[in-house]
Symmetry: C2
Subunit: 318 residues, 2 copies
């Protein structure tokens, strides 16, 4: 049997056919439309992606055990409904019901961060652990929580939004309406903002040349500079790491997982990023001397985590 995983993003809908051993034997994608309405539904585009996968791979529908879909936003995974999504502007889309008209297969829908967590858990850096939290540092901070081998999503799939945990009360305004959310500080967007601010404060920093060379400030600018010995770069990186570690420590004290995996572009910094976080976690977790440790690791699947995790919804979730 094979499994189909679909990862819906703001730019494209990416799909893959996964073998029983967890290999992606075929990938296909279609662009995400700039807007959806009654005449052109997102479910129709997901269907096109599935049709393309089947046609190009030559795998028969009868060999597919099920379809899993990861979608951004607030997902009611129990009912298979996109409650609402910001970046792809949608509310109340009954995607599973709509796709079930075309595919007589088990179909599961979940939040994309949850799918990525499941992917890393089953096939990636989280393999072999029981309790794992996957933290994606991107535009925002997404968190996927695996407890005892199962996704924990909160009631009606409306939890696991640890990016919107306030770590600096009365801090920077977040688009969720609160101030000081973790994602304001620990996201890649936050890092870029922090880098820009430090560059403004220090015209002599090596970050200026590094940014110019790569066509502008990005999530690597400060890390590059820090590695090269630039003090301002080091300062940005140290502070950014303290933001990540603060939220991770909160999650350790609440969940005490075996491992916390860090994903997103910045995770390519590897142990340069994870070692100092590990040190802070080891030192400051509650009852550190007596309680079991939590390992901090970079995620390993990159962009495929979403597709593999969506496919794994079929095998793992129910």
């Amino acid at each position: 049997m094979f499994y189909i995983g679909i990862d819906v993003g703001g730019m494209s809908i990416k799909g893959g056919i996964m073998s029983q051993s967890g290999n992606l034997i075929h990938k296909f994608s279609v662009p995400t439309a700039s807007g959806y309405d009654a005449s052109h539904s997102i479910s129709a585009d997901v269907k096109s992606c599935i049709d393309g996968l089947l046609a190009q791979s030559g795998v028969a529908v009868s060999d597919i055990a099920g379809i899993g879909i990861g979608h951004p936003g607030s997902i009611d995974s129990e009912r298979g409904v996109i409650r609402y999504s910001n970046n792809i502007s949608l509310t109340d889309v009954h995607m599973v019901e709509e796709l079930q008209r075309d595919f007589d297969l088990p179909i599961y829908l979940d939040n994309d961060a949850n799918c990525a967590a499941l992917g890393e858990y089953v096939y990636g850096a989280g393999k072999g652990y029981r309790d794992v939290i996957f933290v994606t540092l991107g535009t925002g901070v997404g968190t996927g929580i695996i407890i005892n081998g199962k996704l924990f999503e909160g009631r009606a799939g409306a939890g696991a939004e640890a990016g919107h945990m306030v770590i600096r009360q009365d801090g920077e305004a977040c688009n969720c309406g609160r101030n000081g959310c973790w994602e304001r500080y620990a996201s890649a967007s936050g890092l870029i903002r922090q880098t820009q601010e430090q560059m403004d404060a220090d015209p002599a920093s090596a970050m200026h040349a590094i940014a110019a060379q790569s066509g502008g400030v990005n999530g690597m600018t400060a890390f590059c500079a820090a590695r090269a010995g630039d003090e301002s770069g080091r300062k940005v990186v140290d502070r950014y790491i303290s933001y990540i570690a603060e939220g991770i420590l909160n999650l350790v004290n609440i969940f005490r997982p075996d491992a916390i995996l860090i994903g997103g572009g910045v995770s390519h910094e590897g142990t340069f990023l994870t070692d100092p976080i590990q040190r802070q976690v080891d030192r400051f977790n509650f009852g550190a001397q007596f309680n079991p440790p939590t390992v901090i690791k970079a995620a390993s699947l990159g962009n495929d985590a979403g597709i593999l995790g969506a496919a794994a919804l079929v095998t793992q979730k129910h």
Copy 2:
């Protein structure tokens, strides 16, 4: 059948015999010793409490289905071990194993905050919900988390320490080693400190007379003054409530429970406390328009929550 619940505290070891319908038919307590060592173990005092309960109630051991014990500190509930406890200074006490020598019954040990949560869930303000978080505002902030009707304690029982979630990075020093933990601000001790500070800043506040009348500043001083229209009292209460709400909102975004129950002395303020928290939670929870609400309520069992919850370990946990 009957169930024995034991609630170990710094001052006394309180026990109760609970009927199948959840009534405490008999209570008994023994004082907690000022220190324990090889010659005088805490397990021996717990045994005395159980012996006293049985002797005074006349209930036969053969009619007891099991014993549950709530103990402060870091508890390995899977192994029945007190990993360490601060206020009763203990490390690595194998309490279940020790008691099993005297009682041939199922015996369960868990953190006292978890037991209180379970008590409120099964017999108190949490009855009828599926996912409930119990937050006790006392010397510290204790949290007990019920997911899908079961205690969630983190790996090896070392999680559910949301009192040690930082909400104000670089804030007040906490005895756990971090800065800005929720319990520094939202505990009764925090409230008393905040009250004292505001009194120092405002010698004309009604809080001075209120405190003098009750023999000193306590957790009711600011609430009393606020109800009487004192502006400084109102200021303390508003800020204190914003601290409680900030942590509760974090928990809502992570767990999205049906209800969050507030316990501890300050919960006697009732809706004067819970209404403004409910308003902040309703307004600022993530995706408030689309996601299911979380109810904020005062706990209802008072001091019996710990005993009832410990007894409920026997019926609920395994």
